[in-house]
């Protein structure tokens, strides 16, 4: 029987990462959808970078940024008394950056198009910008939110390179399921590698199935 603590850690990591991405990704995606700034293409390219960069490159830079000698690592050390690298927090930072495009791109696509004009309409019905965002833009973009949340969650479940670089392989602390599978294979423990792999495969499939089923059943927006 494999050690299930790595699965629990993976689930926590995916949940926290998705929540953080939702909080910082929503305003950024909104800004990207609305702005006419000349910096927009550059920001979009940066957001998409994790799609093409080898995770080891991202992991390497993050490792340097999180070392106690850097300003980020040093600041963390002062604030918490612990090193940032090889901690759960470092996994969250790495995962947030690695899954960034999976949150931003579906949201940005949802915020472009009809939502823009609907915001003007809402303003003409005396809705303040925040009111209009919550009462019009969000329900009209429900499909975008579901897609973004599920893809970010699923993508974090499957992460390997970045977490290995920044988190290492500390049991209960940074050893997520994908790393444990790698470890099991290295030590020729194929039975545990099999069970963990199967669990990840089924969970990932069910997660993605839920998005496609939702998108099929519901229109782009939710009916309130």
């Amino acid at each position: 029987m494999p050690d299930l603590s790595s699965l629990w850690l993976t689930a926590r990591l995916a949940f926290v990462t998705t929540l953080v991405l939702l909080i910082i990704g929503t305003p950024l995606a909104w800004w990207l959808a609305q702005t006419r700034s000349r910096f927009k293409p550059a920001i979009e390219a940066i957001v998409a970078l994790p799609l093409v960069l080898p995770p080891t490159v991202l992991g390497f830079y993050l490792l340097i940024a999180m070392s106690p000698n850097s300003w980020l690592g040093g600041f963390w050390m002062q604030a918490t008394g612990d090193t940032l690298s090889f901690s759960f927090a470092s996994l969250v930072i790495g995962s947030v950056i690695y899954s960034f495009p999976f949150m931003i791109q579906p949201l940005q696509a949802a915020f472009e198009g009809p939502v823009k004009q609907a915001m003007q309409t809402a303003a003409s019905l005396r809705a303040s910008p925040v009111d209009a965002f919550v009462s019009v833009a969000m329900p009209m973009s429900a499909r975008g939110f579901v897609t973004a949340i599920v893809l970010s969650f699923a993508h974090t479940l499957g992460e390997f390179g970045v977490v290995l670089m920044v988190g290492g392989n500390i049991p209960d602390r940074t050893r997520v399921a994908s790393i444990e599978i790698y470890e099991n294979v290295e030590t020729l423990n194929y039975a545990d590698a099999h069970s963990l792999s199967l669990i990840l495969l089924v969970v990932s499939f069910l997660t993605l199935l839920s998005v496609f089923a939702f998108n099929r059943k519901f229109p782009a927006h939710v009916r309130l």
Partner: protein, 362 residues
């Protein structure tokens, strides 16, 4: 105290044209913003609604300043108390008809004068539609919901952006009475954007006439329309050109040859004219067809080589007005937009003007 006037002076540059408009509009009745497509009517409306912030300018609504460049002032749309009805209704797809109406009612300015919801629903005949999904409504029904929704916010100024434009002719006829109800029963000061003479003459008390981003005329509807030869009940395509020429050959078999520059036109004439007599002829714009090459085997005998000097929108969307240069004189033609596209007409094209009828002009 209700505001008395909407005043604006605006300058705004867009990618393809510039808005440079100033007017003072009494806040009562319906004021049409009238002009060809692309003249900036909708942009002007969007600036007044607060959707577009122009480079420089000033908008005052009674005592309130909505926009000013110096000292800087800006009132966002949701604080202006304007109600906007868009060409395509813009109902919220995630709400039912009732949900759309509730959305507006909940956000209404309770201190502003308004009408009870049942009156508005009855006036727009929406009772049977309340539980429907907006996507299942016809174009005309959607516009009625949009108008009711706007009224429920208790607007101080209504901005209607071609509310009939997306409808076919029959549906237009169905919706027009509702727009008249809007005017008579609810009496909210209204700016009504349109490029249709019939609509404007039926609904508007006064007209701001726009062309190329400027307001070129304003005043009472009948005055402005007649100044441009666009009176109500009269076909706007009665527009005609006057050409000057001289009699070339005296009449034979009831026809007279008139020389216009290098070309000769044959006109039916009941009177005797001596060669060399200077005369004017009148050519209705709708009786001028355009060909890229000189056609033969055609009943029309009067053809003049011409050059396209301008293409303009006609008051009705299906048509375009083509201004031709014939030996330094101007000849107007009104043909369908489809024909303009089929022939690929552009300014500077060399064409033949086929003149179906022309009369002597005193």
């Amino acid at each position: 105290m209700s505001a008395s006037k909407l005043d604006f002076t605006l300058e705004a540059k867009f990618s393809d044209f510039a808005l440079n408009a100033a007017a003072s509009v009494p806040l009562s009745g319906v004021t049409a913003v009238f002009g060809p497509s692309g003249s900036g009517k909708t942009s002007l409306l969007y600036v007044i609604a607060g959707f577009i912030r122009p480079d420089t300018g000033r908008i005052t609504f009674g005592e309130e300043t909505w926009l000013n460049t110096a000292p800087r002032a800006w009132t966002p749309t949701h604080k202006r108390g304007v109600g906007v009805v868009f060409q395509d209704a813009q109902l919220f797809p995630h709400l039912s008809v009732r949900g759309n109406l509730d959305y507006a009612r909940k956000r209404a300015d309770q201190s502003a004068p308004g009408h009870p919801e049942p009156d508005i629903i009855a006036a727009m005949d929406l009772t049977a539609l309340l539980d429907r999904d907006p996507q299942t409504l016809s174009g005309g029904e959607r516009q009625r919901v949009a108008i009711a929704r706007t009224l429920l916010t208790r607007p101080r100024l209504l901005l209607l952006d071609e509310p009939l434009a997306a409808l076919d002719t029959a549906r237009k006829g169905d919706l027009l009475p509702f727009l008249e109800t809007l005017k008579t029963q609810f009496a909210v000061p209204t700016l009504y954007v349109s490029h249709d003479v019939d609509e404007v003459s039926r609904i508007a008390d006064r007209v701001l006439m726009m062309e190329a981003g400027r307001i070129v005329a304003s005043g009472r509807t009948d005055e402005v329309l007649s100044r441009f030869g666009l009176e109500a009940g009269r076909n706007p395509y009665e527009a005609a050109s006057i050409l000057h020429g001289e009699v070339d050959i005296a009449s034979e078999s009831g026809l007279v040859a008139v020389r216009i520059g290098d070309a000769v036109l044959w006109l039916a004439a009941d009177l005797h004219l001596d060669p060399g007599t200077e005369i004017s002829i009148k050519v209705p714009a709708r009786d001028v067809a355009i060909a890229l090459e000189r056609p033969d085997k055609i009943s029309i005998q009067n053809m003049i080589p011409a050059k396209v000097s301008a293409l303009r929108e006609a008051p009705r969307a299906a048509f375009q007005s083509v201004t031709l240069d014939v030996g330094g004189q101007t000849l107007d033609s009104i043909i369908t937009r489809k024909s303009v596209q089929a022939l690929g007409l552009k300014t500077g094209c060399n064409v033949f003007a086929l003149i179906k009828s022309a009369t002597f002009h005193a």
